[in-house]
């Protein structure tokens, strides 16, 4: 696992299930300070669930998640909220508050957590909106934004409190190539300029490869492979090769479990 002093988040022997289905079964994973870490894997492997566990929106059945040395499952509500002020999270759909303007959405955490003057809040919000190229959209409502713009506003809101850790949940899904390029550059720039730690959950291999320092590939509740995107590409693992090269069939079967094809078409049920 490497030098633990560099780790900002450590996940140890994590077990979590939904119903009878085990999502994680003894997961171990380290996220290093100042790096961009990508969590990848096929749909349904629990990538978003992992984010919710790290931020304690869900509680694990077994194991521990340490953020900066503190086990998040032991925190009280107020300690948890203090910890969450160190996080910024970009949700898949932006999750902008629909009854507030773009400006008020970005100002929302400042108004809730600080007693800054309106003048200073305006200054900070416009600075953050400028960083994502949407200073001119400050007076629009979320309903007036395109998908890519909404995600950029959400990114401005996620970083308005100057977090230590920025979490991106599927930041590239459903974006046109231009918006995608903008988001990829912003992720890299935020991380380097502000010295924060970034976690990206995604299955967009190409985009992740251009931006991530380290990637983890999840499968069957555990880490199937880890390393830089280039290392993952050249690995011998069948699963990793299937995922990285987008092959339809392999360890992750193309067909959902079903009775035999011939039997189902021509057997007794065909009547």
């Amino acid at each position: 696992m490497g030098d633990t002093a560099d780790n900002l988040i450590e996940i140890r022997d994590l077990k979590f299930s939904r119903g009878h289905r085990a999502i994680f079964d003894g997961l171990n994973l380290d996220i290093k300070k100042g790096e961009i870490t990508a969590i990848m894997g096929p749909s349904g492997t629990g990538k978003t669930t992992l984010l919710r566990l790290v931020t304690r929106q869900l509680i694990p059945e077994q194991g521990a998640i340490y953020v900066d040395g503190t086990d998040v499952s032991t925190l009280t509500q107020s300690e948890l909220y203090q910890l969450r002020q160190r996080f910024g999270m970009l949700f898949q759909n932006g999750a902008l508050l629909t009854d507030l303007s773009v400006f008020e959405n970005v100002a929302f955490p400042l108004r809730e957590h600080t007693k800054l003057s309106n003048r200073l809040i305006r200054h900070i919000v416009l600075t953050k909106l400028h960083a994502v190229g949407l200073r001119g959209a400050a007076d629009l409502t979320p309903a007036e934004l395109s998908g890519g713009m909404a995600r950029r506003v959400a990114l401005a809101r996620a970083m308005v409190m100057d977090p230590d850790i920025l979490i991106y949940d599927e930041p590239f899904v459903g974006l046109d190539p231009i918006s995608m390029g903008v988001i990829v550059r912003l992720v890299r720039r935020m991380n380097d300029a502000l010295g924060i730690t970034s976690i990206i959950v995604s299955h967009d291999v190409e985009e992740v490869a251009t931006v991530a320092d380290r990637s983890f590939l999840l499968s069957e509740g555990k880490v199937a492979a880890s390393g830089s995107p280039d290392e993952l590409r050249t690995t011998n693992s069948e699963l990793v090769r299937q995922f990285m090269h987008g092959m339809a069939d392999g360890p992750v079967a193309f067909h959902y479990d079903a009775p035999g094809y011939e039997e189902q078409l021509l057997g007794r049920d065909a009547e």
């Binding site: 929106q57 909220y81 002020q85 949700f91 508050l97 629909t98 955490p109 809730e112």
Partner: protein
Amino acid sequence: MRRVVRDLRNNAVEFLRTFGAFQLFFLRLLRFSPGMLLGRFDLVVKQVYNTGALSLVIIMVCGFFVGAVLALQAYSNMAMFNAEDWTGVAAAFALVKELGPVMTALLFAGRAGTALTSEIGLMKATDQLSAMEMMAVNPVRRVLVPRFLGGVIAMPLLAAIFSAIGMFGAHLIGVELFQVDVGSFWQQIQLTVEISDVNEGIIKSVVFGVAASLIAVWEGYNTVPTAEGVGRATTRTVVITAITILIFDFMITAALI
């Protein structure tokens, strides 16, 4: 037979569990309410506007016609006993003690309650509540409490407006249409309707306001976060609120008689 008993037991346990969670939810809302009223009253005022002011038209139109119908019914029956002067009294009693609070609460559930449930449900379905949690902002305090308080404040005001407009409708029918003497019409009301009758209406409208707002925010907060889930929650808000209000109406009336 054994299966029926088992199902009954499971349903009873589930009901008790939900009822317990509902009570705890109510206590959570109450815990945050003083802070909201003192510290962020602007959020409450916005919700009084959303639930109250935006329901005014429907409340006024319905109030007018309910008052007018009451006067029509009362006049046609009172006329048999040459007691037309009592038309206003019959309408006033029915409006102030019963129909004002009950009809307003039912209309409130249909107009504002469904809006609250679907708004909160959609906020949940689009991760807005999770986003607040991640911004270290408690969504119960920031989203639910102002909406709950807005409904609680708006309901008695709407009920009073309903009754007032209803009396205007009764006046038009009784005095203007059937030519009941205007002095007798209003004097009989003054002499007969006591302050205790008005208080009964106020008590009912406050209780119904708490019940209707509480059910609306509860259903919204516990929505299954899908399009179908929001639809179901909205329907449940209307049905449960209507039943609850009629049961409470009976209990309060029985207690005050």
